[in-house]
C-alpha cells in the first residue's frame, strides 16, 4: 500500500483506531509557553492527575515578556503573575523551563529546533497555532488548545480524527529577491485563509529541496494561515545536518539508526493525496499583504484587487482603496522578528541590506531575535552593530510586536511593515495596521520609508568614513 508521509507518521503513532471514535494518537513531545499552559496545569491538578512523563515537555517564556534590556522588570502585573505561575508549575511538575536567564530562552518555535528536540517522524504539539513550524523537519507538528494540552500532560496522547493530506507542489526556481516567506504568502493568497482546513500539507518540489532549514521553518510556520492543521517537508540531508550535534539529537551509534529511520519518512512514489495544488514560482514577486488577513496579499508590483464582501471592511480598516498599489505606501514602523522570521538567517539578510545605510527618519524599526542563541550569534557576527548604526533597535528575544500582548505595540493608526504572520485587525496593537512581508522587504521599506523591495534613491546614504 503506497502511503504519503503524513499517513506513515500517523500510522506509527496511532495507539487505538476504532470506527466512530477519533484515533488515540501518541504524542512524542510538547512545548509550552506562559500563555496557554496555566489552565492546563490547573485542569490536571483539579482532577488529581499527574504529568505522565515530564521529560517530554519543555517550557519557555516568550509571548508576554518585554524585549527591552531590563526585561526582568515586568510592569504589567498580570503578565508578571502569569510568568511566575509558569515557573511554579514547571518546578512543581519537574518540567525544564528556559527562563529569562537561560541560554535557551526564546520563542518556543525557535528554541525547539535549536535544541534538537524537533526530529523527523515525531508528533509534536504546543498550545500555539504556529507549531507547524516544526514540520520543516518532517515532524507532524500542530497547535492545540489548553484542554488538549491537559490531555497530553495526563495521558501522553490525544484524541484526533485522521487529517486529510494536501500536496503543495512548487515548480520553477525562486527568483533572487524572493524568499520562503514569499512562497507561503503566495500560496495563502491563492488557496485562501481556509483553503487547507482539515488538511495537513506536504510541501514538495525542487524549490523546497534547495531551501535551508530556516527557510523551510518560515514556510511551514504559516501553514495555519491557510487553515492547515500542519505543514511539513520530508526530511533529507539538509535536515540531518541541521539536527546533528544539537543537545537533544541522538548521539553515537544512535545517530546512524535514527538517520536510517528518518530516511524512510517520505511519500511513496505515486501515492495518493486528498488534494494537490501546484504553484509555479518562477515569476514570483515579493509578496506584501494589504488587508486584515493573510489571504489578502499581492505581489509588490500589483494593485489591490476588488473582491469578496469582506474586502471593503478590510480596506476601511487599513485606510486603502481598490486599485491602489502597495509599492510606495509610507510606513511608520518596521518589524523584523517572530517565530516566522526571527532566526539568524533572517537577521543576516536584514543586516546585509541595512549595512551602510540609514533607515528613514520617520520610521521606527525593531529587530527582535527569536532566541538567546540567535541574539548571541548576531552579536558574534556584528549584526547588532549594523542594526544600531542604521538606526534600528536591536532588542531582547521574545514574540515582541507580533501579537500585541506585551509592551511592544504598533500605535493606533500607525502602519507597520512586518516580518510576522498575521495582519488581523488590531493584531500588533489596537488600531495598528500591518503589512506582512519578508525580512528583506521589511528592511528595504525601512530604509525608503515606504513599501519597496529594493534600494531607492530617497533614503539617506551613510557618509563614507
Amino acid at each position: 500500500m503506497k502511503q504519503n508521509i503524513v499517513e506513515k507518521i500517523w500510522q506509527q503513532h496511532v495507539v487505538q483506531h476504532e470506527s466512530g471514535f477519533p484515533d488515540v494518537l501518541r504524542i512524542d513531545f510538547a512545548l509550552l509557553h506562559e500563555v496557554t499552559s496555566a489552565q492546563a496545569f490547573a485542569m490536571i491538578e483539579e482532577q488529581g492527575l499527574s504529568i505522565q512523563n515530564p521529560k517530554q515537555f519543555l517550557a519557555t517564556i516568550d509571548h508576554s515578556i518585554p524585549t527591552r534590556q531590563n526585561r526582568h522588570e515586568i510592569y504589567d502585573q498580570t503578565a508578571k503573575q502569569q510568568i511566575e505561575l509558569l515557573r511554579n508549575n514547571c518546578q512543581k511538575h519537574g518540567i525544564t523551563l528556559c527562563d529569562l536567564d537561560s541560554q535557551h530562552q526564546g520563542i518556543v518555535h525557535v528554541v525547539g529546533p535549536e535544541l534538537g528536540i524537533t526530529q523527523p517522524g515525531m508528533t509534536l504539539v504546543c498550545g500555539d497555532s504556529h507549531t507547524a513550524t516544526h514540520g520543516a523537519f518532517g515532524t507532524l507538528a500542530f497547535g492545540i488548545g489548553t484542554s488538549t494540552l491537559a490531555h497530553v500532560f495526563a495521558a501522553g496522547a490525544i484524541l484526533m480524527k485522521r487529517p486529510k493530506v494536501m500536496r503543495v507542489h512548487f515548480t520553477g526556481q525562486l527568483p533572487a529577491n524572493c524568499y520562503a516567506k514569499d512562497m507561503i504568502m503566495y500560496l495563502i493568497a491563492q488557496i485562501g485563509i481556509g483553503g487547507a482546513t482539515g488538511h495537513v500539507i506536504e510541501y514538495t518540489g525542487e524549490a523546497i529541496q534547495v531551501l535551508s532549514m530556516e527557510q523551510r521553518m518560515t514556510l511551514c510556520n504559516m501553514s495555519i494561515e491557510c487553515g492547515a492543521i500542519a505543514g511539513l517537508i520530508a526530511p533529507d540531508q539538509t535536515t540531518f545536518d541541521y539536527i546533528k550535534n544539537r543537545p537533544y539529537a541522538p548521539k553515537g551509534a544512535q545517530w546512524q539508526t535514527a538517520t536510517d529511520f528518518w530516511k524512510s519518512l517520505h511519500s511513496d512514489v505515486a501515492c495518493d493525496y486528498d488534494q494537490t495544488v501546484e504553484l509555479d514560482i518562477s515569476l514570483l514577486q515579493p509578496q506584501v499583504s494589504w488587508g486584515t488577513n493573510p489571504e489578502q496579499t499581492i505581489g509588490i508590483n500589483q494593485v489591490i484587487p476588488t473582491g469578496k464582501i469582506n474586502f471593503n471592511e478590510s480596506l476601511d480598516y487599513v485606510k486603502l482603496t481598490t486599485a491602489q498599489p502597495l509599492a510606495g505606501l509610507p510606513v511608520d514602523w518596521a518589524f523584523v522578528g517572530s517565530c516566522t522570521n526571527g532566526r539568524i538567517e533572517d537577521l543576516r539578510v536584514v543586516a546585509q541590506i541595512l549595512d551602510g545605510h540609514q533607515i528613514a527618519e520617520h520610521v521606527t524599526m525593531y529587530i527582535v531575535p527569536g532566541s538567546e542563541q540567535v541574539m548571541q550569534q548576531a552579536q558574534a557576527e556584528g549584526l547588532d552593530q549594523i542594526f544600531t548604526t542604521a538606526g534600528a533597535e536591536f532588542r531582547m528575544p521574545g514574540c515582541s510586536m507580533c501579537l500585541g500582548m506585551n509592551d511592544d505595540k504598533v500605535p493606533a493608526g500607525s502602519r507597520c511593515i512586518s516580518s510576522t504572520n498575521r495582519n488581523f485587525i488590531g493584531r500588533q496593537g489596537t488600531g495598528s495596521i500591518t503589512h506582512l512581508a519578508s525580512p528583506a522587504t521589511v528592511a528595504y521599506s525601512a530604509l525608503a520609508g515606504f513599501i519597496t523591495s529594493e534600494y531607492q534613491n530617497t533614503y539617506t546614504q551613510k557618509e563614507a568614513s
Binding site: 501518541r26 502569569q82 498550545g127 497547535g143 484542554s147 501522553g156 482546513t197 495555519i224 487553515g227 500582548m405
Partner: protein, 202 residues
C-alpha cells in the same frame, strides 16, 4: 464527568461575517489572565467598539444562545480563551458553513456545540434573526434542528455526541487507554523516537 447536554433551545444572534479570527473573538492583550473566566467582557471588543449597532451591542440579543455566523469561524490562533469568552456571553452553540480546526477541537472539549450548515441556510437564518425574534431548538440526541415548522438534520461526530449527551469527558476515555498508550510509547523509543533527553538544558 462533564455537563450533560441533550438539547439547546434559544434565541439566535446573527453575525454574518466570514473568517472571524480568534484575535477578533478575544484580543491577545487579555490573554495574560491565568483563569478560565473573565474573557466574556472583552469578547469581540473591537467590533463592539467600532460599531454601536454591532449585534452584540443590541439589547435584543443579550440572551441569545445560538450564534449564526459566516465561513471559517475561529480561524487563527489556538487560544482556547476564544471558546471560554463565547461561552461566557451565554452562547451554547454556533452555526456556520465551516469552522477552523483548532477552534473546533477546543469547542468540543468545552461542550460548545458547533454545527455546520450550508451557507444559504446560515444566511437565511441570520436574516430571520435580524428581522424578528428567531428561536431554534437543537436536539443533540437526534442531531436535528427545529426552526419553526421545519426540521434540519446536521452531522455530528458520534463520539462527541455520546460525550455530550451522556456527560462523559474525552479525557476519561483517553485515560482508559493508558496501558496501551504507555506500551506504545515504550515500543517507539530507539525505533522511531530518538530524542536524547539527557540533552535538556540544566
Amino acid at each position: 464527568m462533564n455537563k450533560q447536554i441533550t438539547t439547546i433551545q434559544g434565541l439566535c444572534a446573527p453575525m454574518m461575517m466570514d473568517d472571524i479570527d480568534t484575535d477578533i473573538i478575544i484580543p491577545a492583550q487579555h490573554l495574560t489572565q491565568t483563569s478560565k473566566s473573565g474573557y466574556g467582557q472583552h469578547a469581540f471588543a473591537r467590533l463592539k467598539q467600532a460599531d454601536p449597532d454591532f449585534v452584540l451591542n443590541q439589547n435584543k440579543y443579550q440572551k441569545a444562545k445560538v450564534l449564526i455566523t459566516g465561513d471559517n469561524f475561529g480561524c487563527g490562533s489556538s487560544r482556547e480563551h476564544a471558546v471560554w469568552a463565547i461561552q461566557e456571553l451565554g452562547f451554547q452553540a454556533i452555526i456556520a458553513p465551516s469552522f477552523a480546526d483548532i477552534f473546533s477541537n477546543n469547542a468540543r472539549k468545552n461542550g460548545l456545540v458547533l454545527i455546520e450548515q450550508p451557507v444559504t441556510l446560515c444566511q437565511q437564518w441570520a436574516q430571520q434573526a435580524k428581522d424578528h425574534e428567531f428561536q431554534i431548538t437543537i436536539d443533540l440526541v437526534t442531531a436535528k434542528i427545529q426552526a419553526g415548522n421545519e426540521a434540519y438534520l446536521f452531522d455530528i461526530n458520534p463520539f462527541f455526541q455520546h460525550c455530550l449527551t451522556h456527560g462523559h469527558s474525552e479525557l476519561d476515555y483517553l485515560l482508559s487507554q493508558q496501558v496501551a498508550i504507555t506500551r506504545h510509547q515504550q515500543a517507539a523509543i530507539n525505533q522511531q523516537l530518538f530524542i536524547d533527553f539527557t540533552g535538556a538544558p540544566q
